[in-house]
């Protein structure tokens, strides 16, 4: 079943991904740029709004679920990934993008991230990393710097910082990128490559939070970021190199596609009972397959 309102010549526009709803983020919030960049990437990849599902968790980013065109699903805190992964398994014709904050994703949802990377489900996941829990008024997250004084951590958190890229790169991930919320153009290019990738595309966005993270505003990142494309002969198929390059989050911060496995096989194509490897090739999308099935052959084994 394709969209009944569109035909093969329909091209998406930025307007298709707009919403009538008014943004509710703080002035200078990094979310504005991220939303614009995602829209641009979708238009540039000619993905129609009716063929897009954006999945959000709860947090400031999630409040943007009804402020971007296409189909949306605003799920539970930390659970955007399983929601998106389930959707992707059902219908490959719809592009699925999930968004999550550093709070939900690296807090209570961290198990989902690990297993979605392992399974290499074909979604793009955008980590809004603003180094705190914004919507609950600025508590420390797993990415909050150790010394930083936060709401509810008056002397600073005493847990060690979790480095998102080192973590994800250690997991046999197939696409790992980083960008920064102050550079819409760079983000769009990274998102385009993430959308192209067949498998789990992990994109960390270093996001400014003008209200609760005064230490690393846009300007702070601007002074430190550089694209890996500017490194002579950077080989994005080298995981060790990516790990090394991603390490520095303080002085010189690498952005761009740090690692990609171009031979990545997404989860749905790993299904041995459907992918042809065992002699059975199923071409339909899972969602199209619901009909009455005859169980009489299966009953033979119970006689």
């Amino acid at each position: 079943m394709a969209c009944i309102n569109c035909n093969s010549t329909t091209s998406p526009t930025m307007k298709d991904f707009q919403s009538k709803n008014i943004f509710t983020w703080c002035t200078n919030c990094g979310n504005y740029g991220i939303h614009t960049a995602i829209r641009r990437a979708l238009v540039s990849k000619k993905i129609l709004a009716c063929n897009t599902l954006t999945c959000f968790d709860i947090g400031c980013n999630g409040n943007g679920s009804d402020k971007i065109g296409g189909y949306n699903f605003h799920g539970l805190h930390g659970r955007a990934i399983p929601l998106a992964v389930g959707a992707e398994m059902a219908n490959r014709n719809v592009t699925v993008i999930a968004f999550g904050g550093d709070g939900g994703t690296l807090g209570e949802g961290i198990g989902h991230l690990v297993h979605a990377v392992r399974g290499n489900y074909n979604i793009t996941f955008v980590l809004h990393n603003n180094l705190n829990y914004g919507l609950t008024t600025g508590q420390a997250s797993a990415t909050t710097k150790k010394s930083m004084k936060m709401n509810c951590s008056p002397d600073g958190t005493n847990s060690e910082l979790l480095h998102p890229l080192k973590f994800v790169l250690s997991l046999e991930s197939t696409f790992v990128a980083r960008s920064f919320s102050g550079d819409v153009k760079h983000m769009s290019k990274v998102f385009e490559q993430a959308l192209d990738h067949k498998g789990f595309s992990f994109v960390e966005i270093l996001q400014s939070c003008p209200t609760y993270n005064k230490e690393t505003p846009h300007e702070w990142y601007m002074d430190r970021v550089y694209d890996v494309g500017t490194i002579d002969g950077y080989d994005s198929s080298n995981r060790e190199l990516a790990l090394k390059t991603a390490q520095d989050q303080e002085e010189k911060i690498a952005i761009g596609v740090l690692y990609q496995d171009k031979n990545s096989i997404p989860q749905i194509d790993r299904q041995m009972n459907r992918n042809g490897q065992m002699g059975i090739k199923i071409e339909t999308e899972v969602y199209e397959e619901t009909r009455q099935y005859d169980i009489s052959k299966l009953l033979e084994k119970f006689r």
Binding site: I4, G86, A90, G111, H112, Y293
Partner: protein
């Protein structure tokens, strides 16, 4: 307590000793010889060691429950002898292969008082003498028990050939062992008077568990995705569906945790793929936030909740019906949901199909309750019930042409709004876990918030009209009127068959299969005419009773509640009925 045609054999031994294999072979052979069986397993939560049992109740009519005592106990280990000795009936027999089994004085007097015959078979020695291995002592024991039934050895030989068809080199030795057991002198033991069915086609009868029936119901209903995290007693759904996934093409995936299972199911169902998930109490606890999410996003959702005793880890491999409250009250907030309790093969098969139709029609979560007693017991049926036609209520084709984004959560009389799939038209919407307007846009305004909240709850009123009333079985003028749900029905119906033969007290039983929302009309007239109303549940607090009382005001003064990890045995109910004046 003896029941006219029922004969009970119990195989006991250490977990890992082959108790299950013997039980399975025996159950199939008895079925193939024209008898009805019901297989009941007890086992500890560990892989090797501990005591396990496989009890087969045998009758000449369809049965679905177990007796508390057996006529023949077949014992493979010392510890299982000690544990299960007292489950042998008066005049019963024990066949064992335990070398130099010594009885304590208490055991001796129990055996004497109950006139129990004990026969030792040196099965391991015989196996080795015949040129076989120690493990083949199980085949000798199988031959020995087959002797008791007085059925032809030839038919059991066929089963042995079938079992070892992939290992032809051990067929002959196993046949020798079988015959050695079959011819071992057990003439002292009491033989059952078996009434063999006279029909021709009993070989076509099916032997399967409740979990098999749920799996098959799901396949028939067009379920194309199954996600699960293993948890007894739901796990064998995952086991079975993965074992046939080449045939079905279904996506069958073991997932990292139940939270993910539930959220993935929501994602897949949202996109239109019929998705089933299954768990037990602890796993369902983890899912409840997601259940609540389906409430507000109005996403169809179907979960099997296979009950076992809690709280905490409880008795992981035993049975209970103590999670009705958990299912009904799962998830924060208030919203429509449906809770159905299956009880046997036909019920598991049908209810699974109905659950998807209800979930998709009303866009609500549906929870199918089973119990370990249903999920893992072995039932014999002559056929599966008729399939339920699939009803999806998803807009397609021309129906989509006039749809706008504002229709998705449109406030309708029934509370049910149009549903269509992402990718099918350009009327995009937000399935929003925040309170929302009719296109899913977030709102915190009082008027639309209240309207939406009411709309979602209102679906329950319409659903209620769609659901069947409870069913009444037994006497129309009963002395005792029972009310129950779940596996209780299986025992209750068997009990009523036995009591009819004895022509004693008149008993009726009202069974709730569709429990929530609760239909009360039939119950109310049943209760009004009852001389003695008795609530019967496999839990400690009478959860269904409390629900009924809250909806009807009818109080249950008499309760027969069991919560020791065991299902209701025949004797439990018969003793209760007969102890009444």
């Amino acid at each position: 307590m003896n029941f006219k045609n029922r004969f009970v054999v119990k195989v006991v031994g250490e977990s890992g000793q082959g108790v299950n294999s013997i039980g399975e072979v025996l159950a199939k052979a008895l079925k193939d010889n024209g008898l009805y069986i019901f297989g009941y397993r007890e086992y500890p939560s560990l892989i090797k060691g501990g005591d396990a049992s496989y009890q087969i109740d045998i009758d000449n009519i369809e049965i679905k429950s177990s007796s508390s005592h057996c006529d023949v106990l077949m014992c493979l280990s010392r510890s299982s002898f000690k544990k299960y000795l007292r489950s042998v009936r008066e005049n019963g027999s024990i066949i064992n292969s335990v070398v130099s089994l010594l009885l304590t004085p208490e055991e001796e007097s129990f055996v004497k008082e109950n006139k129990i015959n004990i026969e030792f078979i040196p099965a391991k020695d015989i196996a080795i003498e015949l040129g076989g291995k120690r493990i083949m002592s199980n085949t000798i024991m199988l031959g020995a028990i087959w002797q008791i039934f007085g059925l032809e050895i030839r038919k059991m030989e066929d089963n042995i050939r079938e079992i070892f068809s992939k290992k032809p080199d051990v067929v002959d030795i196993n046949l020798k062992c079988l015959n050695a057991g079959f011819n071992y002198d057990l003439s002292k033991l009491i033989r059952p008077k078996l009434e063999i069915r006279q029909t021709e086609n009993f070989k076509d009868d099916l032997l399967l568990t409740g979990n098999h029936a749920i799996s098959l119901g799901a396949i028939a209903a067009g379920v194309r995705v199954f996600y699960s995290y293993p948890m007894t007693p739901s796990s064998s759904i995952l086991t079975y569906l993965s074992s046939v996934y080449h045939e079905t093409g279904m996506i069958v995936k073991q997932i990292e945790d139940e939270i993910s299972v539930a959220n993935m199911a929501i994602g897949s169902m949202h996109m239109g793929a019929r998705t089933l998930i299954a768990t037990s109490g602890g796993g369902f606890d983890l899912m409840t936030e997601a259940v609540s999410l389906t409430g507000i996003t109005e996403t169809p959702f179907v979960c099997v909740l296979a009950q076992r005793p809690g709280p905490g880890t409880g008795l992981p491999t035993w049975t209970a019906a103590s999670d009705l409250n958990l299912a009904i009250y799962s998830g924060h907030g208030e919203y429509a949901k449906c809770v159905i309790a299956a009880h046997d093969i036909a019920s598991c098969y049908t209810v699974t199909q109905q659950a998807f139709n209800i979930a998709e029609k009303y866009q609500i979560p549906v929870i199918i309750l089973t119990e370990k007693q249903i999920a893992e017991s072995i039932f014999q049926v002559d056929r599966m019930p008729q399939d339920i036609p699939i009803e999806r209520h998803i807009l397609e084709g021309e129906e989509l042409e006039k749809i706008t984004s504002l229709d998705r959560y449109k406030n309708t009389e029934s509370g049910v709004s149009p549903r269509w799939l992402p990718g099918s038209c350009d009327a995009v919407f937000d399935a929003n876990s925040d309170e929302h307007l009719s296109d899913g846009s977030l709102t915190e305004d009082a008027v639309p918030a209240k309207e939406m909240y009411e709309k979602r709850i209102r679906k329950e009123e319409y659903l209620l009209k769609d659901l069947p009333e409870p069913e009444i079985f037994g006497s129309e003028d009963p002395d005792i009127s029972f009310v129950g749900w779940g596996s209780v029905k299986n025992t209750m119906l068997d009990v009523m068959n036995i009591l009819n033969e004895r022509e004693k007290k008149k008993v009726a039983y009202l069974h709730y299969e569709y429990i929530y929302p609760l239909r009360t009309e039939v119950f109310q007239s049943y209760a009004k005419n009852a001389k003695k109303l008795v609530l019967i549940e496999n839990n400690a607090t009478g959860q269904l009773g409390n629900l009924i009382t809250s909806k009807t005001g009818v109080l249950f003064k008499n309760k027969l509640l069991k919560f020791d990890g065991r299902a209701f045995f025949l004797e439990d109910i018969i003793e209760y009925i007969e102890s009444e004046e």
